[in-house]
Amino acid sequence: MTSEVAEPADGVAISPAADPGFLQRYGGTIEYVLIPGAALVGALGVFGIFVALFGKSPLDLYFYMYQGAFGTWFSWQNTLTRAAPLILTALCTALPAQLGMVIIGGEGALLIGALAATSAALLLQSAPPLVVQLAMACAGMAGGGLWIMLAGGLRQYRGVNETISSLLLVYIALAILNHLVEGPMRDPASLNKPSTREIGAANMIGSIPGTDVHWGLVFGIVAAIASYILIYHTVFGFAARVAGGNIRAARIVGLSVGKLILTICFLAGAAAGLAGMVEVAAVQGRTNANLAAGYGFTGILVAFLARQNPLAIIPVAILLGGISASGGLLQRRLGLPDASVQVLQGIIFVAVLASDALYGRIGFLKGKS
């Protein structure tokens, strides 16, 4: 699966080398595919050595990773299901990154979004399902959006570092969720697993027809494309990128930086909040502590691997979904501990971050004339 990422790029990069103009035009784009692809191949190589040290065959490893993630239709559905929440939570980090902000609190926005969506559904028990679902989506997005906007506001008006505040807000969100689920919102029938009441089978949003994959994947892809258009093809996005590049310059040219920060943070939180809503409406059917499954944290990894590009988030989320889908097979067939998948994620993360240093330094891509 890895060579597929890198090889086409290799092919493109080498064959038209005779035409320097081509490289001048597309060299940058090729770089964006080639460097992370090579980093990924390198990371898999290192992981292969790591696994070989445990006495397992690296070839078996790659085979099972491929089989578990992309080898069968079932594996594909497994991968896409796991990728769905990651696209949305990755946007929670990638959007503020356009402004130069490092927000790592997507998990908190997801939890608050899930709580808000569940509350909306429980308040509207008698409404038709479509109304309930729309209300859940709006409530989830508003809840998550306001949560991250809080971190943005603290940064803008109080000078609080948004990375720390958004991270700490995750623990506050978890405490609020546990308090409500074990207290005021608890379904008395949920004896040994404190949970809210169920939103009802009719209000569940179900799967994409013909698959097991829930609608969260479609929401995620639409949100990622919309974010890409917003950032790269609108005046608002341009203003955001200007502010991200140099916040003083942005102020001097009269951009309202505060408004930009709050809006982007709201949109970012709304994406993660929507992920929370989908977890409730498509998977769990209610809110309980199970929702804190770490999607928000994996989303940070996805955003950084995608170099904060909303479009690149989609393939990267699928890749990480695939790694986690294949993790089970690695445990079962190779007897590797679960932590080995985290080791692989860690190696990939380090490799991709380290490869940042290579941009603009690969000779044959510079299109020398």
């Binding site: 078996d60 099972y64 578990g68 079932f74 207290g183 499954a293 089970g328």
Partner: protein
Amino acid sequence: MDFGRISRRQLLQGSAALTLGTALGARSAAAADTTIGFIYVGSRDDYGYNQAHAQGAAALKKMPGLKVVEEEKVPETDAVEKTMESMINLDGASLLFPTSFGYYNPHMIKMANKFPKLRFEHCGGLWTDKDPKNAGSYFGYIDEAQYISGIVAGYSTKTNKLGFVAAKPIPQVLRNINAFTLGAKLANPKATTQVIFTGDWSMPVKEAEATNSLIDQGVDVLTCHVDGPKTMVENAARRGAMVCGYHVNQSPLAPKAYLTGAEWNWEALYPKFVKMMAAGEAIPNFYRGGLKEEIVKVSPYGEAVSAEARKHADDIKAKLTAGDYVIFKGPITDNKGKTVISAGTDRGQKDAELEKMDYLVDGVIGATS
């Protein structure tokens, strides 16, 4: 590593034909008569809840004609649905043991509906007539073993102060705390149990803090109900306190301090289930039992346990094993002075009221909320 060599050959074939995934699944299903899948929420060597199940799985591995596949650290989200499906599709599993409480509803129920010919056995859930017939829930009355631990603790304490590190104030946990305290008071009417709730199943830092704080208050015998008792056992032993274990036998961690403990006996139950299935008998959908049914057991006594304590504990254990002893026998008052089981009422193990327990008995210092 024959298996490794075969699959490497298949890797080469596989690059040509994409259908190998199904071929491999079929082959491994043919290799063993029955494949059984075990899914754990934590790591299987946690000296606790998950290890107890893994010991049960290990007992099955020794039986001929069985293949056991295991996956650890599977979160209670749709990831567990995908793990079950992956075990079914790729490994050919026909009997599944998703062992964590949160796997039951909606995840295992959904899979049981999707694969009506396969058998699903869940630990801890409360199966009702509304649930699929190919699903079952089993659990043990481990409070019987906690009662024995309580008796031993009551004799062993010098300060008359016992400590209990607990996860959440839910019925299963409260029942253990109450049984432990009633046992202790039977042996030593002056004994009290101070309880600290950590708020979640696996919080090693809070568990260590709770252990230290209990010992600082003069507690000299501790026990717990969290997923991994290792933290409590090791810390308490280091501080010179004595411990009663939980889930599995932790005496290797603290040979001198270990008095006894309440253990699961899955290594007896799981082979029994498999034999029942092989003989064509139906496993009851709702399966419960205690010492008598060999679902729970008591750890061998440590060297610090006095002869008097052993005699009393063995006597009660014999009565519980014979099935003619009631732990929750009225009158019982809670620690706020309210009568919770009136005089003359015997709440036997199978009494459904006990599954809803929401109080701490007299002698417990602590509150449920």
